[in-house]
């Protein structure tokens, strides 16, 4: 499975010169907790709702301060055509909750660790089912075949 196939939700981006207030409003209206920060077509940063609070509000920044002052940059990314399992080690190594997927430096979307976890849980459930079936349901002896 390719990395881009692990994207489960739409991505939302904002230009680097937009304000903290703009970012907060877009997050609220789009129902997302993170925005890609875009310069032209290039991904230059990621800003989360937590960044707005901890790096913005808590540091006394005004709401009209630029978003590139509170974003995370450079961004940890994975190429869209990479193996999705490569994302697992990236999540582990960097302690991320979201991983940006790019194609030639252009933002494509984000993989959330929550979504990957749900996929893995569903696959584990598929494997566990036949095993628990044997344990929970008694084995019925087949009837003695008729003989002549």
């Amino acid at each position: 499975m390719k990395a881009f196939e692990g994207i489960r939700r739409s991505g939302v981006g904002i230009e680097a010169d937009r304000t903290i207030r703009d970012a907060a409003t877009v997050m609220e209206q789009a129902g997302v907790g993170a925005l890609a920060v875009i310069d032209g077509t290039r991904l230059v940063g990621i800003v989360t709702d937590r960044d707005l609070v901890r790096r913005g509000l808590a540091q006394g920044l005004e709401s009209d301060a630029r978003i590139d002052g509170v974003m995370t940059s450079p961004v940890v990314t994975i190429e869209a055509e990479a193996d999705l399992h490569d994302a697992f080690s990236i999540f582990r190594t960097h302690g991320l909750r979201r991983l940006a997927v790019v194609r030639d430096d252009r933002f494509v979307g984000m993989i959330a660790v929550d979504d990957l976890l749900m996929n893995v849980a569903a696959e584990l459930g598929d494997l566990i089912r036949p095993v628990t079936g044997e344990v929970l349901f008694s084995h019925h002896e087949s009837p003695v075949p008729a003989t002549r």
Binding site: R8, R9, S10, D22, T25, A36
Partner: protein, 66 residues
């Protein structure tokens, strides 16, 4: 996904109790109607750049030729 200026993109909810969200396509920044799209959320909403995922669908509207 292929969209045109004026189309509406609907994002379907992921959790029980969440509602659908929608935005209007203001500009197509991809090739042949492909993403990303400059969009506006709600009637007086802010503008953003949208990268559709599997949770999004587009509602096309007739565009009158001038």
């Amino acid at each position: 996904m292929r969209a045109s200026v004026g189309d509406r993109i609907v994002i379907h909810p992921h959790r029980l109790g969440e509602h659908e969200r929608d935005c209007e396509v203001l500009e197509v920044r991809g090739v042949d109607g492909g993403p990303p799209y400059a969009v506006r959320w709600g009637e007086n909403g802010h503008e953003a750049i949208f990268f559709p995922g599997p949770d999004a669908s587009v509602q096309h509207f007739e565009h009158s030729s001038r």
